[in-house]
């Protein structure tokens, strides 16, 4: 899985490309912790190219959401593929992590 980031108006935009599974999720977890340590509080994940997520991936996103909440920040996602969306729905995560259709909606939610 590839992780690309860029900072825009106080929001850290994270593009995930590939599969977020039990093998790749620990790498993302380390990254999230490092971003939060260096002051990022608003994380926006662009999931357009994220083809797969398992419970290990959900867990890392939940850990990240809790971490930024403690700093009065927020973690949101957008552009979920149908397969990834199904896992969010079945797990109930769709109701506890902000999921938006596109970048502008997700950006608005972070304001």
């Amino acid at each position: 899985m590839d992780i690309k980031t860029r900072e825009e108006n106080g929001v850290l935009l994270v593009e995930l490309d590939g599969r977020l599974n039990s093998t790749t999720s620990s790498r993302l977890e380390k990254q999230i912790k490092a971003w939060v340590r260096s002051g990022s509080q608003k994380l926006l994940f662009d999931c357009e190219n994220l083809s797969y997520i398992s419970s290990a991936g959900l867990r890392v996103l939940l850990t990240g959401a809790k971490l930024v909440q403690k700093k009065q920040g927020q973690l949101v996602l957008c552009k979920l593929s149908p397969n990834v969306r199904e896992v969010f729905e079945v797990s109930g995560f769709i109701d506890i992590i902000g999921v938006y259709d596109d970048l502008s909606q997700a950006t608005q939610a972070l304001e």
Partner: protein, 143 residues
Amino acid sequence: MTTTRVTLKSRAEDLDLLDDILDKVSESESWDDRLTNQLRLVLEELIVNVINYAYDDLDDSLHDIELSIDSNPEQVVIELADDGKPFDPLKDAPSPDLKADVEFRPVGGLGIHLVFKLTDSVAYVREEGINRLTVTKRRASGQ
């Protein structure tokens, strides 16, 4: 109908092997994208569970995990056998609290829940020191 049998080792690296096996079966059995994704998830959750929780060996010795995938146009049957601690997902898995708020939600407890949600039946039997799990997934018409 085709049957794919493979022996995995109880180590994280073998999950990549699992990904390759699934890609091959998916292609030869014409699984659609959704079915492939669901079964990839089911297998990852079950096998990660075995690797992480089934063994107490102090020397981290590797165990065999036997996997078979039977696929026909009506359904896919996955059988998993391991010699780890007895674990009956129907009785021993804690059900996750899906209603809890992010802040109060415990981390984890989700994998087995997803397996039940995404398959049609899960059967468990403990036989001569072996956990045997049989998971059935019906294929929707047109898949």
